[in-house]
Symmetry: C2
Subunit: 144 residues, 2 copies
């Protein structure tokens, strides 16, 4: 398990379109799979879940919500792949030109217009790459 540097971690994150937004919802840990694109180092996601959005809304001038964003490509059988976690403040994208641009870049999973775009500015980026299969693995397969 080899740690990744920030640049390489962000490059890998930008190479996929699916990730997971991790946040706090009613004092509980919450997670949603979403699409993303990178804009520079910023992670841009679309979110159409009203309850999740409400959890990320803060009163104007109040503290911004800290979220984590994770993406991975892992082959559990061959023990190869990588995982990246970026942690930072989430902000709503409110510039109309940005909203329109991101709406074209972020492909929706369901047929509805994008409710909100969020920008995550990564303060902390960590990740690892699995480079080698373990030697102590018994031949037991996972169920099904």
């Amino acid at each position: 398990m080899q740690p990744l540097e920030r640049g390489e971690a962000l490059r890998l994150l930008g190479s996929v379109s699916l990730g997971r937004l991790v946040f706090t919802q009613q004092a509980l840990p919450a997670i949603r799979p979403v699409n993303h694109v990178l804009d520079g180092e910023d992670i841009i996601i679309r979110l159409s879940d009203g309850a999740a959005l409400a959890s990320l809304t803060r009163p104007a001038g109040g503290p911004k919500a800290v979220v984590a964003y994770e993406a991975d490509v892992i082959d559990p059988d061959r023990h190869l792949g990588w995982s990246v976690v970026a942690t930072g403040y989430a902000q709503f994208v409110d510039d109309p030109a940005d909203v329109e641009r991101y709406e074209h870049l972020l492909r929706p999973w369901v047929a509805r217009s994008m409710t909100a775009a969020l920008r995550i500015r990564p303060e902390l980026v960590t990740g690892f790459r699995l480079t080698d299969g373990p030697t102590d693995v018994p031949s037991v397969a996972s169920p099904e």
Copy 2:
């Protein structure tokens, strides 16, 4: 986007071996990709990250940590797949027989012995299945 019932959601979760543990670490949202097996409805994971484990440790008799556990199989190009999120209390597995059994069932990604096994008892299980491509994306293949 079709919601999943608890039974079907847990069945799908048990059909894969990779998921993501979501928890709170130093008051920040945190996430780790891990392997899992299901034991009845309980989700059993192995965790060898000392800092993460410390965040899940509670003083004896104190409140247990609430975590979320997510797994998904999503094809971002074809907009097909599913995601399941289970939320519940995490407990360390301390019965020696259980620890040994899970150590054989849970395949490590890196060559080291399992530091700890955690049992998540799902209180809340939610999930969705993507059954249909959106109509506003031209190049999406038709659903199976």
